[in-house]
Amino acid sequence: MSTLSPSQAADAVIAPTGAQRRTSRGLRERGKWWRFVVMLIITAVVLVPLLAVVVLSLQPSLGSTSTGPFTFENFIEVFGQTSVLTWLKNSLLVTVVTVVIAVVVAAPAGYVLSRSRSKLVSGYSLILFVVQSLPVVTAIIPLFILFATVGLVDNLVGVTIIYVAATMSVAIWMMAAYYDSIPVALEEAAWVDGASLFGSFTRIVLRNSLPGILSTAIFSFLLAWNDYLIAVVFLRSNPNYTLPVGLESFFQQNATNWGLVMAVAVVMMLPPVILFAFLNKYFSVGGIGGSLAGR
């Protein structure tokens, strides 16, 4: 998103000419700060629920001996008394494995989608779309039966497999959309120099696709990390919970002790927020729609 600067483009058009300039610039300055205030208020209101999570997690709970305005004792208690650490470990494991497999499988598949223009491939693209729009609930039941027979229910491997499958079609699209922006001429030059199809793909295309790979990775990360439905159906026992199910069950049991509940919520919220803070320019929801619109 950072490459787009609509404000500058729009500004060039609005920019007044000649004698008008001085007065309207003053007006524009004032308008600018008005919009700043409006934006500040909007953002503050929008972020109230998220700020509340952080503030409540730092509040001393009932019967606390702490006197300061805020304290970390909720976090100490949550990590000491509950299985949060196990849930965190499970979530990280499931998410990281999902991201790695999704990228490794989607990278070559997206290449096919991007470079080949045969009927078969566009049919494949259509299947991806249809599959993507089916509700997860429909797929869960047969998968539950299938997984029950092979012992993958209440098993982290089971949910990981489903996450990989769930990310697959969008991941392939996102990779394909990125490859579309890399000129074929580069690969053709490599072929002339004697590179194989696979060689040109790994050495030229993949090497230039880091932003596309990162976007795909972030998408898979968020899907696996944030999922609730698949986890709640497939993970049945506390030591196997991932954070979403863990947080929800913890919330059901400690509904009035908001400090502890929000401490768990902060643990769950931090990884995606940190990731987003550093990599937000690779975060493209627009990319999904864009690739869909083009095909």
Binding site: M1, S5, P6, S7, A10, V13, R28, G31, K32, W33, R35, V38, M39, I42, T43, V46, L47, V48, P49, L50, A52, V105, P108, A109, V112, V121, I127, V131, S133, P135, V136, T138, A139, I141, P142, L143, F144, I145, L146, I161, I162, V164, A165, M168, S169, Y228, L243, L247, F251, M262, A265, P272, V273, F276, S284, V285, G286, G289, G290, A293
Partner: protein, 278 residues
């Protein structure tokens, strides 16, 4: 060769379950056995049930308000962010947070905000002289709250889609409109909206799919209550299967829902094609 691993995964984990689920919808089974064949019986049965139509009605309310609510908020913010505002990039990042943060976390927080009489919003309502407002105990209020929650989660998606769309509009057109003396509203209505029609339709289709298939947003905030007023079709399907253990009818609900979804998507896609030709 390159597509083979993805093809295998897709066939095994996406296509197989769908086919198997369709077979299930024709049987009166449980989670662990297929049960006797009943043909279209399950479909006929659910179409005669009031709970199905009530869920269908709420799904429509939820989807329409989710799609257009988030689109209007997202487009307004995208337009605002196009103008000169100090710290422009920062706002964009901060406003995307509701989309990034896990639903479980935001649902927990919204529960704290509205659910109990001790929550901040009910207290605020009482101070404003609105009396004792129970956001999640009154059926209509609960429906509104869930829809607002959905808009809060989804507007960042629309904001990004619309920002990208607005950025691709040729700015010369605006200059021409200015020369011709068009007002700001006219420019928006006659130029901006038609120019972003295609991405708008795409975002509507995607958001429709997201809303109809959305389970956690509703389930985590209200669980479908009070008195089933916020039960969408996905929730109904889930509860039918995993709480009443009637897989046949449950899957049949999901399939009917998907059928409608596909029809709506195709109609909207036609619109896109029309727009592209013009």
């Amino acid at each position: 060769m390159f597509a083979l691993p993805s093809l295998i995964l897709l066939l095994l984990l996406n296509l197989y379950p769908v086919i198997y689920a369709f077979i299930q919808s024709m049987h009166n089974g449980t989670l662990l056995s297929t049960g006797p064949f009943v043909g279209w019986g399950n479909y006929v049965k659910i179409l005669h049930e009031a709970s199905f139509w009530r869920a269908a009605r709420f799904t429509v309310i939820f989807t329409v308000s989710g799609v257009f609510g988030s689109w209007i908020v997202g487009l307004a913010l995208a337009l605002l962010l196009r103008t000169h505002i100090p710290a422009n990039g920062l706002w964009k990042v901060l406003l995307l947070l509701p989309w990034v943060v896990p639903v479980v976390v935001s649902a927990t927080s919204w529960n704290w905000l509205v659910a109990t009489p001790q929550s901040p919003l009910p207290i605020l309502a009482e101070h404003l002289g609105l009396g004792n407002v129970l956001f999640l105990a009154n059926p209509v209020l609960a429906q509104i709250t869930v829809c607002v929650f959905k808009v809060w989660i989804s507007f960042p998606f629309m904001m990004m889609m619309m920002s990208a769309a607005l950025a691709s509009v040729d700015t010369n057109v605006y200059e021409a409109a200015k020369v011709d003396g068009a007002s700001k509203w006219q420019t928006f209505r006659m130029i901006t909206l038609p120019m972003i029609a295609r991405p708008t339709f795409v975002s509507w289709i995607l958001m429709t799919i997201f809303c109809v298939n959305d389970f956690p947003t509703i389930f985590l905030l209200t669980g479908g209550g009070p008195v089933n007023s916020t039960q969408s079709l996905v929730l109904l399907a889930y509860l039918t299967v995993f709480e009443n253990f009637q897989t046949g009818p449950g899957v049949a609900i999901a399939f009917l829902m998907t059928l409608v979804l596909v029809v709506v998507s195709v109609v909207l896609f036609r619109q896109i094609r029309k727009v592209s030709i013009e």
